[in-house]
């Protein structure tokens, strides 16, 4: 569906995207993840023909975005970070313009506008000026615009930024729905969002692709940071003594709290967390020391993200 090959983009001396290559298949929701200034918006702008690349190729549905921009753009609907809306128009006027520019006419145009308006639930604001609409509705009008012409690929740049929690949920549901019939690519720096709606995640950092996989696989990648934490009713020395008896763990952090409580965090790369938990439990039980609380902590996308993009300092988007 979309092939990006060796994409490089320089702004003067600053390299926003460097040698980025990936491939996107049809009919999934893809998440584009990265800290601020990682090159997400730049990559999306290049994919949609809004920016040129310094080097590299992008093919969309077989059309090169630089060589055959018109055909390629017909298969893409794009919502930039800031919805590109004409404030002194109504959504109806605005959508008619975008539809006509996408080559729709007459009955077909009218039908499509009605369709996207009901999909994005903006029918009742169609005749109000866009400048009087709330941010959530503006975002929807922006999405409606991207949907016109029924493009195969829909690219949304941070679609939920600045919305209230209910609007965020609504937009997410809408994106999930879109994923049934379109290939959707959305960028975000909110991890839970990507985890909730994306089937595959691309993580980029400093303009480079650092990971591209399903969210759950990415978590597995970081099994080494799986951890167990528990609170024992013992002194520091006692706790350490007991821990030394458990053979499968070698490293731990101990923190003493008041009332003779000790909190221990263990990191392990073992896959069998349950077994380790059991061993610890019985080791303490043998010494007649109560373990008051025990929890195993699995790595989540957040950890993957931090680990992969560690040490980044955002230089500002674009």
């Amino acid at each position: 569906m979309i092939t990006v090959e060796h994409l490089t983009k320089c702004y003067g001396d600053f390299m926003a995207v460097s040698d980025l290559s990936f491939e996107i298949d049809e009919g999934h929701v893809y998440g584009f993840l990265g800290p601020n200034g990682a090159g997400k918006s730049t990559t999306m702008n290049i994919m949609t023909g809004c920016l040129s690349a310094t080097e590299g190729h992008i093919r969309i549905n077989g059309y090169d975005i630089f060589e055959e921009p018109e055909q390629a753009k017909k298969t893409i609907g794009y919502l930039p970070e800031q919805p590109p809306l004409y404030m002194n128009e109504t959504p109806a006027e605005y959508l008619r313009f975008v539809g006509e520019a996408k080559g729709l006419k007459g009955e077909k145009l009218k039908r499509q506008i009605e369709e996207v308006a009901s999909q994005t639930k903006i029918e009742h604001v169609m005749d109000r000026l866009i400048s009087t609409l709330s941010k959530g509705y503006r975002q929807r009008v922006g999405i409606a615009q991207a949907l016109l012409g029924n493009p195969k690929v829909i690219i949304l740049d941070e679609p939920t930024v600045g919305l209230d929690p209910i609007q965020i949920i609504e937009i997410r549901d809408l994106i999930k729905q879109l994923g049934e019939n379109h290939t959707v690519i959305l960028s975000s720096h909110i991890l839970s969002e990507v985890q909730a709606i994306c089937e595959k995640v691309l993580i980029i950092s400093k303009g480079k692709l650092v990971a591209f996989d399903r969210p759950e696989n990415l978590e597995k990648l970081l099994l080494s940071s799986n951890g167990i934490s528990f609170t024992a009713e013992a002194s520091r020395e006692e706790t350490e003594e007991i821990l030394n008896e458990v053979d499968r763990i070698t490293k731990w952090d101990v923190e003493t709290q008041e009332d003779m409580l000790t909190v221990v965090t263990i990191k392990t790369d073992s896959k069998d967390m349950r077994d380790i938990c059991r061993q610890i439990f019985f080791a303490f039980a043998n010494h007649k020391i109560a373990v008051l609380e025990m929890a195993s902590k699995k790595a989540n996308l957040e950890d993957v993200f931090i680990e992969l993009t560690e040490g980044e300092s955002g230089v500002g988007e674009e």
Partner: protein
């Protein structure tokens, strides 16, 4: 292109731009007609047009200041780039919309000679020839204004640059009489222009070699001509200033000559500046 044209037109007529522009143009021509044709009872409507064309200094910036700058400011240029239309279609669509807005008051003005003809002898071919040239000259200036507007995202800056550019163009013939007509004077002026051109090219293309190359080639050429036969450079600068004047060519029409070369000159200016506008929009994609 039709989509852009329709959209722009509805934008102009939904906002005040088209009305303010028409009001200014009609007021200028109306006052001119009142003074010349009615008060002084002169039958030549073309003199009115010759008289009011200074008004372009004010009305062209009003018309062109938001054409592209506004898109940038609202970030809607990203939408235009992502739509399946070519940049040239965007620019031409926008330009035709401006022309249409410009044509509306001109259609009303076109009735004046007919009205005057009811009350006396009016030589209509000169009147309408001049009106046509008036339209072409305005069209050329709108193209210049469109280009200037494409360079910035601030409407005020766009208007603030367009206004002095047109004013300078208006006075360039008068100024030409005061500038040095000697060979060395012209040579120095051309060299200064070449250096400025170099800076402009460098700003637009970010390509040092091209910018310096163009400047150096022009400077060397001028120096070569200067040392080979300095008499060729005499009067060059005033000549250039006169040739560049859009207004000077219009006065030929007012004097009753339908000058085809002037029409071709206006069309060349339009095409050239629209081309530059397209390049200026394209350039946004490259940085």
């Amino acid at each position: 292109m039709m989509a852009v044209l329709k959209h722009e037109l509805s934008g102009y007529f939904h906002s005040l731009t088209a009305y303010i522009f028409s009001a200014f143009l009609l007021a200028f021509v109306g006052i001119g007609a009142l003074i010349y044709n009615i008060q002084s009872a002169v039958a030549n409507f073309e003199y009115v047009l010759g008289y009011v064309c200074l008004g372009f200094v004010v009305i062209i910036p009003i018309l062109t200041m938001r054409v592209i700058a506004e898109e940038r400011k609202q970030k809607t240029d990203q939408l235009l780039y992502s739509l399946p239309i070519r940049t040239s279609q965007i620019v031409v669509g926008k330009y035709f919309a401006l022309l249409a807005v410009y044509l509306v008051p001109l259609c009303i003005i076109a009735l004046y000679p007919l009205i005057f003809a009811q009350f006396g002898e009016v030589y209509l071919p000169t009147s309408y020839g001049s009106l046509f040239a008036f339209f072409m000259m305005g069209a050329a200036m709108i193209a210049v204004g469109t280009f200037i507007c494409s360079l910035t995202e601030n409407q005020g800056v766009a208007a603030g640059i367009t206004l002095p550019v047109i004013l300078f163009n208006y006075y360039s013939v008068t100024l030409a009489e005061y500038v040095s007509a000697t060979a060395s004077g012209s040579a120095i002026a051309v060299i200064v222009i070449a250096v400025l051109l170099g800076f402009i090219i460098r700003y637009l293309t970010k390509n040092d070699n091209l910018a310096y190359g163009a400047s150096i080639v022009i400077i060397l050429a001028v120096l070569a001509v200067y040392f080979a036969d300095s008499s060729k450079l005499e009067g060059l600068l005033p000549d250039i200033m006169k040739k560049l004047s859009l207004f000077e060519r219009f006065y030929t029409f007012v004097n009753g000559v339908f000058d085809l070369t002037a029409i071709i000159y206006y069309i060349t200016v339009i095409v050239f500046f629209l081309f530059l506008s397209v390049q200026s929009l394209e350039k946004r994609r490259y940085n």
